[in-house]
Every structure is written in C-alpha cells, then in structure tokens.
Amino acid sequence: MDGEALTTVVESLMIMSARLRKFALTVHVISSVGWLGAVTSFLLSPLRA
C-alpha cells in the first residue's frame, strides 16, 4: 500500500458517523455561540449598576 492509499484509509476511518457528527456539532455550536451570549452578559451587566 502506497502512502496516498494509506492516507485515504486512515482518513476514512477517522470520519465520524452522522449521529456522532451531529452531536459534536450541537456541543460545538452551544459552547461557542453560548460563550458569545455569556460575553454579552458580562459586557452589559454594569449598565444599571
């Protein structure tokens, strides 16, 4: 097996299943965009203080 073929095999083994991919996407979106919401809260919390 040459290097290119080996890379293809390894890459195909590393691809997540559709369900796992959706789960990972959900966790990633919640944490990254949720972080944005928390930063907005931090930024605006001194407004009425």
């Binding site: 959706k22 965009v33 949720g34 919401g37 809260s41 407004l47 203080a49």
Partner: protein, 176 residues
C-alpha cells in the same frame, strides 16, 4: 418567497447567534443566581441580584425577541416553512412560550433586585433556580431540534408538497 443564498446565510447567522447567545446568557444568569444563593458576602449577593435584573432587560429579552423574529424570517424565507415540519413547529412553540414566560418573569426579577438593593441583608431572598434551569432545558431542546431536524411533516406540509409537485408536473414541457 425563498431568500437568495447570501441573505439566507446572513439570516441563519443572525438566528444562530441570537438563539444560542440567549442560551449562553441564561447560563450567565444561572451562575449569578447560584452566587446569590451561596455567597456569604452581603455586597456580592446584592450585586448578583442587580446584575440579574440588568441581564434580563438588556440581554435576555432582546436576545429572545431577536431569536423569535429571525427564526420566523429564516423559516418563511427557506423551503422549510413555518408550519410544514413538526420540528420547526415545536421549535416555534417552545421559543414563543419561553419568550412569554421570560417577559412575564422579568418584573419579578426587577422587584427582587429592588428589594435586594434596599434591605440591609439580602441573603435568603428566594432563588430563580427553577425558572432558569427550566429555560436552559427548553433552549437546549430547541438547539437539538435545530441540529438534528427530526423527520415528520404536518398535514399542511404534505398538502403544500403535493401542490408543488402538481405545479412542477404541469410546467414540464413534453419532449417531441
């Protein structure tokens, strides 16, 4: 009324930012609530209640309204539609209920912040834990529905699809 690709992407970005930003702000609110319940320092407890009142007016309600409006625009401007798929419909209902409860509850939070600011020792004021955890769970369910998009069309959705298929067949030009 399908939106162009660029506009669709912009609307999607606005919707994801506002709806999941709302979720992040609820987590921040929850952190303040837990601090208010567990801190022994009077000033910290007072500051936490005042910050919660600010959060609900300046962050949570604006994000909730933005999430609702961008969601409606997003569904009406794409092939998903507002009432065609059960997951979109559930998302809409959950978002509307959560937004209404949030607006209703905002006065309670404001009142409690006013009490915390005026009394000597605000420790021991009731918690908002039930509402904030409930809101967090609802928003997590909404996010999961949006990512997984479970199958299932409403009756209206099936009717619309049949109408569309009929129109497409009528448009087909017979090949000589």
């Amino acid at each position: 009324m399908i939106m162009r690709l660029r506009l669709r992407k912009f609307a999607l970005t606005a919707h994801v930012t506002s709806s999941i930003g709302w979720l992040g702000a609820v987590v921040a609110f929850l952190a303040l609530d837990i601090t208010a319940q567990n801190s022994r320092d009077v000033q910290t407890v007072r500051a936490a209640y005042l910050a919660m009142a600010t959060l609900i007016w300046y962050v949570l309600i604006p994000l909730a309204v933005a999430a609702l409006l961008t969601g409606i625009v997003q569904s009406l401007g794409t092939t998903w539609g507002l009432l065609r798929h059960y997951w979109v419909l559930f998302k809409l209902v959950l978002t509307v209920v959560a937004a209404i409860l949030l607006v209703q509850y905002s006065q309670t939070v404001a009142d409690r912040a006013a009490v915390a600011a005026s009394i000597a020792d605000p420790r021991g004021l009731p918690s908002f834990l039930l509402h904030s955890v409930g809101g967090l769970v609802v928003l997590l369910v909404v996010t999961i529905l949006a990512v997984f998009k479970p199958r299932g069309m409403t009756r209206y959705g099936w009717r619309k699809r049949r109408d569309q298929q009929r129109k497409d067949e009528q448009r087909k030009v017979p090949v000589p």
